[in-house]
């Protein structure tokens, strides 16, 4: 599991790869938490190489989404695979995010 953050003008891209399960989410938390302060920008969650997500991973997404709503930013989820799409479906996440 790797989490890579790239910052550009007014836009932050977070690229996840591999499995975002409970242990991986615990590793990713210290990387994601500082971004909550910058949630007034557009944050793109790139899931092109993400193969699996559990509720701990979903929690990270939801925390970011709430911060964006508070601060007036925007979260875009990009390139999710079919497995992850079905998890998004079961949890109602499809309607919470702008998905590309």
């Amino acid at each position: 599991m790797k989490t890579k953050v790239t910052k550009e003008e007014g836009q932050i891209t977070v690229a996840f790869s591999g499995r975002l399960d409970t242990p991986a989410a615990q590793e990713a938390n210290p990387i994601i938490n500082p971004l909550l302060e910058e949630a007034d920008k557009t944050i793109i969650l790139d899931c092109k190489d993400l193969t699996y997500i559990s509720s701990s991973g979903l929690r990270i997404f939801l925390t970011l989404r709430k911060a964006a709503e508070d601060k007036g930013g925007k979260i875009i989820v990009q390139s999710i695979n079919d497995d992850i799409r079905s998890v998004f479906m079961m949890t109602g996440f499809l309607n919470l995010f702008e998905i590309r």
Binding site: R59, E69, G92, E98
Partner: protein, 735 residues
């Protein structure tokens, strides 16, 4: 002819006459009793059926309503979740077209969507309304800002601005892509100055609504209609009426206009209830309820003819049985009358009385099931029962039958003995059968029986009674006691089943009885009995007592063997003392060993134990991929099983406080059963409230998603607490 012979002849004549009169009286009384029993039975059966129809209709209405609301909620949240993107995009007019496109793309339920600007909001485009629609799987992007359509005057545009909230439009027929029934949900969008800038909408295709209404076939001939807030028919069995007729117009075309109008008022006033209406000369029951948010109302219409179809059959059967019973009484009477002429001395008359009582006893015993084993084809039931009367006729009863995979059984003891007690026993047993034919809640059964017995009870007799209904699949047994002594329950020990005493049947008409519940497991047993057993006296006036009874019943034996042992033990105990009370008992051994009932299959077992460290989860992943390989489980299924199990085990590791967690997997080609066991603090996830997935982001709690996920993925999740352990069982079907 001498004097003695003449006297004899006269006496014989007088006796014949008397016999004839007694006979006539007996027949009249029998007819009256039979008729009274059948009237009581018909009344309670009819009430029961009405109650059942009401329950069925209400739960069907509830199910349909929540089905509709589920869809409505999904569409509402699709629109509401896009409101903030829309506000955000107001500064960039060109990007607005993306919003309807995203709503349509991400929500299979939405057939079309637009963001329609308030006229002249943008100086350079006085009318602006980019529209995305999906027709036959093809996405079409157009604009609604055409002179012919004039969107600013449409209901979906005007109403939400006027009301300043989300609004469901009156359903309409969309002529754009075929004749499709649609409704539109729209919300006003405000800019940063709080000025209304636009209206964002989603169109919902209502084709599924007809299908939903067709699921209401709870009785043959039953159907549903749905009406809009203006009373227009949205669903009707007659397609030509849909959208063309209002219910008021329809009411004017039928004979029973008054009742139809009352129904229409109630539905349009958004009330819940029921009403009887006539249509084409047939009586119908209509149950109705409003549907929130949309302004619609729904009803279920059940023809009474269909509702009572079974009852009519039963009624005819009872009539035939009554006629047969009457013929039997006449025949018995004639036989007695003939023989009576031959007996004159007192001792002969006594014999005759005993003969009659013997017949009464035979008739009585023929009312309770006496063939054991009663269900030879069933491997899960070992049941036997016995009734040993103290006098010729008994006031005790037991009975049992199976309906819908549920075993109904009961035992009762009528106050007093002899013929009056036996008559009340017959009434009790017949009420148990009649009420049990359409009700499976012991509390309701006992309450109904108590009511009708209190009504008939002029001689102030009463019956102690216990009624049990066991779900043979799950082992869940519900029971209700009416003043009877506690049954014995056999688990790993013999104990008394906890029973609330309540009052016997026939004492207080409005007695509130209480329902109790116990779960029987494989190899558990229940012993119902009357106090004739524990209160059997020996010549020294000692009682047999519950301790002796428990000792006699120790060990696992066939039900019949237990009963024989008890009979023998009581007989040995009382010795030559006369039997003072009826001995009645019922022994039921539950053998729900699901393993035995299943055909042998290729089965595999795996077990791992993890310490409470998140890093151990990779071993769980390894276990699941091994099982997936063994049974050739496709990747997406494996991935979802993995997710469900990770969630369930993570919760134990993080929150239970248990140092270890054991995971057992038992798999067949059909299903995998996972059992997660830990010694942590008690927690039953099946009782956790479900997550509302239609809420908007701010209202969504961060936790609870894990339990929600595994409950969704697995086919069943059950929990039990045993020996201070949490045992969670998750089953996934894989074929």
């Amino acid at each position: 002819m001498n004097v003695t012979e003449r006297t004899k002849k006269l006496a014989e004549k007088a006796m014949k006459r008397r016999t004839r009169w007694t006979g006539l009286l007996l027949i009249i009384v029998s007819v009256a009793i039979l008729e009274a029993i059948s009237l009581v039975q018909a009344y309670y059966a009819q009430e029961g059926i009405r109650q059942e129809a009401k329950t069925k209709a209400e739960s069907q209405l509830d199910a349909s309503r929540s089905g509709i609301l589920n869809i409505v909620n999904q569409v509402e949240s699709a629109v509401r979740n896009s409101v903030w993107v829309a506000q955000w995009s107001l500064q960039v007019p060109d990007s607005l077209a993306n919003i309807p496109k995203l709503i349509v793309n991400n929500n299979p339920l939405v057939a079309g969507s637009t963001i329609a600007m308030v006229p002249n909001y943008y100086k350079d485009r006085p009318l602006y309304s980019p529209y995305t629609a999906i027709t036959n799987g093809e996405i079409i992007e157009t604009s609604l800002a055409t002179p012919e359509y004039d969107y600013p005057s449409q209901e979906w545009f005007v109403k939400p601005i006027e009301l300043d909230r989300g609004y469901w439009s009156e359903p309409y027929v969309d002529t754009g892509g075929g004749e499709i029934l649609m409704t539109t949900y729209s919300v006003p969008i405000k800019d940063s100055q709080g000025k209304t800038a636009a209206v964002l909408t989603a169109d919902l295709d209502l084709e599924w609504l007809t299908a939903l209404a067709h699921e209401t076939k709870i009785y043959p001939g039953a159907f549903s209609t749905v009406v809009s807030r203006t009373g227009r028919l949205l669903v009707s069995p007659d397609n030509s009426l849909i959208m063309n007729t209002t219910i008021d117009e329809y009411a004017a075309t039928v004979k029973d206009t008054a009742h139809f109008n009352a129904l229409n008022r109630a539905m349009l006033n958004r009330e819940t209830g029921s009403i009887q209406v006539s249509h084409n000369g047939e009586k119908n029951m209509v149950y109705y309820a409003p549907i929130d948010k949309t302004g619609w109302a729904m009803n279920i219409i059940i023809p009474e003819k269909e509702m009572f179809a079974d009852l009519r059959k039963l009624d005819n059967l009872i009539r035939i049985l009554q006629v047969l019973g009457l013929l039997l009484i006449i025949m018995i009477f004639r036989a007695i009358a003939k023989s009576q002429l031959r007996f004159k001395s007192l001792s002969e008359k006594k014999e005759l009385m005993e003969g009659e009582l013997k017949i009464a006893s035979d008739i009585q015993m023929s009312m309770i099931p006496k063939t054991f084993p009663p269900f030879p084809e069933r491997k899960d039931i070992d049941l036997s029962a016995a009734l040993v009367p103290a006098k010729e006729v008994s006031g005790d009863l037991y009975d049992f039958f199976i309906r819908d995979e549920k075993l109904f059984f009961c035992i009762g003891d009528v106050s007093g003995k002899g013929v009056p007690a036996s008559l009340l026993m017959a009434v009790t047993r017949s009420l148990f059968r009649t009420i049990g034919a359409h009700n499976d809640n012991p509390k309701d059964m006992v309450t109904s029986m108590n009511k009708s017995m209190s009504d008939m009870n002029e001689s102030n007799m009463f019956v102690t009674f216990i009624c049990c209904v066991l779900n043979l699949k799950t082992g869940k047994m519900q029971y209700c006691n009416a003043g009877h002594n506690a049954p014995l329950i056999f688990t790993d020990k013999i104990s008394e089943l906890p029973v609330n005493p309540n009052l016997p049947l026939g004492v207080i008409r409005n007695m509130e009885f209480t329902l109790q519940e116990v779960t029987l497991h494989h190899d558990d047993a229940i012993f119902l009995y009357t106090d004739g057993i524990t209160e059997a006296e020996n010549p020294a006036h000692e009682l047999f007592g519950i301790q002796r009874l428990k000792e006699t019943l120790s060990g696992r034996k066939p039900a019949q063997a237990h009963l024989d042992n008890v009979k023998k033990a009581v007989a040995d105990f009382v010795k030559e003392a006369p039997q003072s009370d009826d001995l009645t008992m019922l022994f039921f051994h539950y053998l729900n060993n699901t393993e035995d009932n299943k055909p042998a299959q290729s089965k595999s077992m795996h077990s791992i134990t993890l310490t409470n460290d998140i890093s151990q989860l990779s071993r769980l992943e390894g276990l699941i991929s091994k099982i997936a390989e063994e049974h050739h489980i496709p990747h997406p299924v494996e991935s979802s099983i993995n997710l469900a199990m990770e969630e369930a085990v993570t919760n134990v590791i993080m929150y239970s406080g248990s140092e270890k967690v054991n995971i057992q997997a038992e798999s067949t080609p059909d299903e995998i059963i996972f059992t997660i066991t830990d010694c942590g603090k008690p927690f039953d996830p099946t009782q956790a409230p479900d997550v509302d997935t239609s809420k908007v982001a701010v209202d969504r709690p961060i936790g609870g998603l894990g339990i929600h996920l595994y409950r969704k993925i697995m086919d069943s999740v059950t929990y039990k607490r045993q020996d201070n352990k949490n045992i969670l069982t998750l089953t996934k079907k894989i074929q």
